[in-house]
C-alpha cells in the first residue's frame, strides 16, 4: 500500500482477492469437507471420519482407474516434457517466431470434444488404411495398431498437454541469455554440455513445473480420454460415470480430495520454494554486497 492510498480501499482489494480465491477453491474444499463426513454427502449430521480414505484402497474400480491414470500421466509426462523442451529451444532459436508459436499453441484453442472426436475419426481411418495395407501385404501385424486403447489415449493427452508444457518452459527460457551458451562453448563445452551444465540448471524450475502441470492435466482430462481410451477407465471417467449413473460414492469423494491434496501440495510446494528461494537469494545478495568495492 502506498502512503496516500485509502486504507479501506486497500482492505477492499484484499477482500476481493480472498473472494476470488474462495470462489476458485470453494468447491474443492467442499468436496474435501464431505470426504471427512462419516454420514456422506447430503447428510444432516456431520461426523468426522477418515474411514472413506481407508476404503479407497479396497475399491477395485477406483484403484484400477487410478493405476491407469497414473501410468498415462507418467508416460505422457516423460514424452511431452522433453518434446516441449525441444520445441521451446527450437522456437527460441527460430528467426520467424510467429508461425511456430501459432502451430504450437493452436491445440489450446480447439474445443476438447472437437479435438477428441477428430482424433477418434483419424485413428479409425488410420486403422482402416493399415488393415487394407496389411491385407495387401498378406500380414495382420498392422491390424489394430491404432485401436482405441492406452496408446490412442496417450496420444490424445500428449496433444492436449504439449502446448501447456511448451508455454511453461518457454516462460522460464525467456530469462535465459543465449550468450551463456556461447560462453560455455568458448570454454570448450560441446552443445550438449553447454545445455546440460549451463542452460538446464537455469530452466530446471520451468521443466519441473511443466512436469507437475502435465501430470495434473492428465488427471483432470476427461473428454479426449473418454473418447480415445477404449476399454479401460481413468480416474476422471470413473468419477463422472458414477456421478451420472449412481451418484458419487464416499470413497470417490475421498479419492478426489486425496488427488486435490496432492496437486495443491505439489503446486503450492513449487510456489513456496520459488518464493523462499528468491527471498533468500535477495537477502544473501544484500548481506554480501560490500560498499567498499566500487569497481
Amino acid at each position: 500500500m502506498d502512503d496516500y492510498a485509502n486504507p479501506w480501499l486497500h482492505r477492499l482489494k484484499w477482500a476481493y482477492l480472498l473472494l476470488v480465491a474462495a470462489t476458485l477453491m470453494g468447491p474443492v474444499f467442499y468436496v474435501m469437507y464431505i470426504s471427512f463426513n462419516a454420514n456422506g454427502f447430503g447428510a444432516n449430521q456431520y461426523e468426522f471420519t477418515l474411514e472413506w480414505y481407508g476404503l479407497i484402497f479396497s475399491d477395485q474400480l477406483l484403484m484400477g482407474a487410478l493405476g491407469w491414470t497414473l501410468r498415462l500421466a507418467v508416460i505422457c509426462t516423460l514424452i511431452t516434457v522433453p518434446m516441449a523442451l525441444l520445441a521451446a529451444k527450437y522456437y527460441k532459436a527460430a528467426r520467424n517466431k510467429v508461425l511456430p508459436v501459432f502451430l504450437f499453441l493452436a491445440p489450446l484453442f480447439v474445443a476438447p470434444d472437437i479435438l477428441g472426436s477428430a482424433l477418434l475419426v483419424f485413428f479409425k481411418n488410420v486403422n482402416g488404411a493399415l488393415r487394407s495395407l496389411g491385407d495387401a501385404l498378406g500380414t495382420d501385424a498392422l491390424d489394430g495398431l491404432f485401436q482405441l486403447g492406452f496408446g490412442t489415449a496417450l496420444i490424445g493427452l500428449i496433444i492436449y498437454t504439449m502446448p501447456y508444457a511448451f508455454v511453461v518452459i518457454l516462460i522460464t527460457m525467456g530469462r535465459y541469455k543465449p550468450e551463456q551458451t556461447e560462453a560455455a562453448r568458448a570454454c570448450g563445452a560441446n552443445g550438449w554440455r553447454a545445455f546440460w551444465d549451463i542452460e538446464f540448471p537455469q530452466i530446471r524450475a520451468g521443466v519441473f513445473s511443466a512436469c507437475s502441470f502435465t501430470m495434473i492435466l492428465c488427471f483432470n482430462e476427461y473428454t479426449r480420454t473418454s473418447l480415445l481410451k477404449g476399454g479401460f477407465d481413468t480416474f476422471t471417467t470413473v468419477l463422472i460415470s458414477q456421478m451420472l449413473n449412481t451418484g458419487m460414492s464416499e470413497q470417490s469423494y475421498a479419492m478426489s480430495s486425496l488427488v486435490s491434496f496432492v496437486a495443491i501440495a505439489l503446486i503450492g510446494g513449487i510456489i513456496l520454494y520459488t518464493l523462499v528461494r528468491s527471498d533468500s537469494l535477495a537477502r544473501e545478495a544484500r548481506a554480501k554486497a560490500e560498499p567498499v568495492m566500487s569497481t
Partner: protein, 368 residues
C-alpha cells in the same frame, strides 16, 4: 640462439590469426565483404568501427560462432573455418558479461578446466590464480549477481585466461561500464596482455578505448576492412577519408583538383586554393577529392601562409574541459574546427573574419 636463428624463427612463425577473403551473408544482407587480415602472435589488435559495421561479425567468425559464407579463417596457420568454437584455440569475453548465474565466481572461472577434465584441486588452484591475476581474490564464493559490472567483466577475463589459449577475443568488453571504469579497465587490459603475452583481439566502437590498448587497429565499416595499421599511424596519417572522419577529430573538406605539380596537388576548397602532398595517389585535374586535417593542427588567427590557410568567419566556441573547439564557417555548409588547449587572449565576435592556417604537410589528400 644467434640473431639469424631468431630472425628465421620469427619469419616462419604463422600469424596467430589470418582471414582470407572472408565474407558473411545473412540472406541478402552482406555483413562482411572479402576481408583479408593478418594478426601476429602476441599482438593487441583492435577492430574499430561504427555500430553495425561488421566488426563483431568478424570477431565471432574468428571465434567460430558464425560460419563464413566464403573465405578462410586460419588460427596459427591451421584452417578452422569448419570447426565450432569449442574446438578452436580461442577464448572469448562477451559484452553482456555472460557469466553463469547459478555458479559461484570460482566455478565460473573453473568451468573450462572442468570441461577439460582437469582434477578438482588443480581447477581450484588455477582458478584462484586467475582470480588473483584480475584482482578478485576474496570473491571466489560469490555469485555473479553479487558483483558490479566491472567485477563481472574481470571474472569473464579470468574465465577466458585460465584456459591458457593463445588468442583472446573481446567483444565490446567495456561497453557496459561507466566512463571512468572503462578508462581504468582499458589500462588493466593492456597491462594484462603485456603480462601474459597472448594475442588479444578487441572489438570496440570507442576510438579512445582503441587508442589506449591497441598495438594495431583495423577500421571496419559497412562490412569492409577500411584500413589497418599501427594505432599511431591510423590516428596521425589516415589513408582513407572514412578513417579520418572516424578516428580523431578531423576536419573533412571537399574540394576539386586545380593543379597537379609532381608530388604537390593544389585543391580548390570553398573557392580558395590549398596545397597538399599527393602521397602517390592517382589524381587528375578537375577530380573531386577530400582533404582532412586534425583539428588540433589548425591554428586560428594570424595572417596565414598562402596555400596553407583558408579564410572564414568565426561561428562559435565549444568548451570541452581540457580543450576548446573554435568553429569557423569557410562557406555555407563548410566548417573548420581549431582545437586548442590554451585560452585565446581574445575570442572573435561571431561573424568576424578569421584565417585558419596549418603547417605544410598537415593536410592530407584522400581520393576515395
Amino acid at each position: 640462439m644467434n640473431a639469424l636463428g631468431t630472425l628465421k624463427m620469427t619469419e616462419t612463425k604463422p600469424a596467430a590469426v589470418e582471414v582470407r577473403g572472408l565474407a558473411k551473408h545473412y540472406g541478402s544482407v552482406v555483413a562482411l565483404k572479402d576481408v583479408n587480415l593478418s594478426i601476429a602472435a602476441g599482438e593487441y589488435f583492435v577492430l574499430l568501427g561504427p555500430s553495425g559495421g561488421g566488426k563483431t561479425t568478424l570477431l565471432r567468425t574468428i571465434g567460430g560462432f558464425h560460419r563464413p559464407t566464403h573465405g578462410q579463417v586460419l588460427l596459427n596457420g591451421v584452417d578452422v573455418g569448419h570447426l565450432p568454437p569449442d574446438k578452436r584455440t580461442t577464448s572469448m569475453v562477451f559484452q553482456s558479461y555472460a557469466l553463469f548465474p547459478h555458479m559461484t565466481v570460482l566455478q565460473n572461472v573453473g568451468y573450462g578446466l572442468k570441461i577439460a577434465r582437469m582434477g578438482r584441486d588443480a581447477i581450484r588452484e588455477k582458478s584462484a590464480a586467475a582470480l588473483e591475476m584480475v584482482g578478485l581474490t576474496g570473491f571466489a564464493d560469490r555469485k555473479p549477481h553479487e558483483l558490479s559490472g566491472g567485477q563481472q567483466q574481470r571474472v569473464q577475463l579470468a574465465r577466458a585466461m585460465v584456459l591458457n589459449r593463445d588468442i583472446l577475443l573481446l567483444d565490446e568488453p567495456l561497453a557496459a561500464l561507466d566512463a571512468q571504469l572503462r578508462k581504468d579497465m582499458c589500462l588493466e587490459l593492456k597491462h594484462l596482455q603485456e603480462k601474459v603475452g597472448i594475442t588479444f583481439i578487441h572489438v570496440t566502437h570507442n576510438q579512445e578505448e582503441a587508442m589506449t590498448v591497441a598495438d594495431r587497429i583495423a577500421l571496419i565499416a559497412d562490412g569492409e576492412l577500411v584500413e589497418h595499421g599501427r594505432a599511431r599511424d591510423v590516428y596521425r596519417a589516415p589513408h582513407r577519408a572514412f578513417t579520418a572522419s572516424f578516428v580523431g577529430e578531423n576536419n573533412i573538406l571537399r574540394g576539386t583538383i586545380r593543379e597537379v605539380d609532381g608530388d604537390d596537388v593544389t585543391v580548390d576548397v570553398a573557392g580558395h586554393p590549398v596545397r597538399t602532398g599527393r602521397r602517390g595517389l592517382a589524381v587528375a585535374r578537375g577530380a573531386a577529392v577530400t582533404l582532412s586535417i586534425r583539428s588540433e593542427l589548425v591554428r586560428m588567427g594570424g595572417p596565414g601562409e598562402a596555400l596553407h590557410s583558408l579564410p572564414g568567419r568565426y561561428s562559435e566556441s565549444v568548451y570541452l574541459g581540457l580543450t576548446t573547439s573554435h568553429i569557423v564557417a569557410l562557406a555555407p555548409g563548410t566548417d573548420m574546427v581549431s582545437r586548442v588547449v590554451e585560452d585565446l587572449p581574445q575570442v572573435p565576435e561571431p561573424g568576424a573574419p578569421v584565417v585558419m592556417s596549418w603547417s605544410p604537410g598537415d593536410l592530407r589528400l584522400h581520393v576515395d
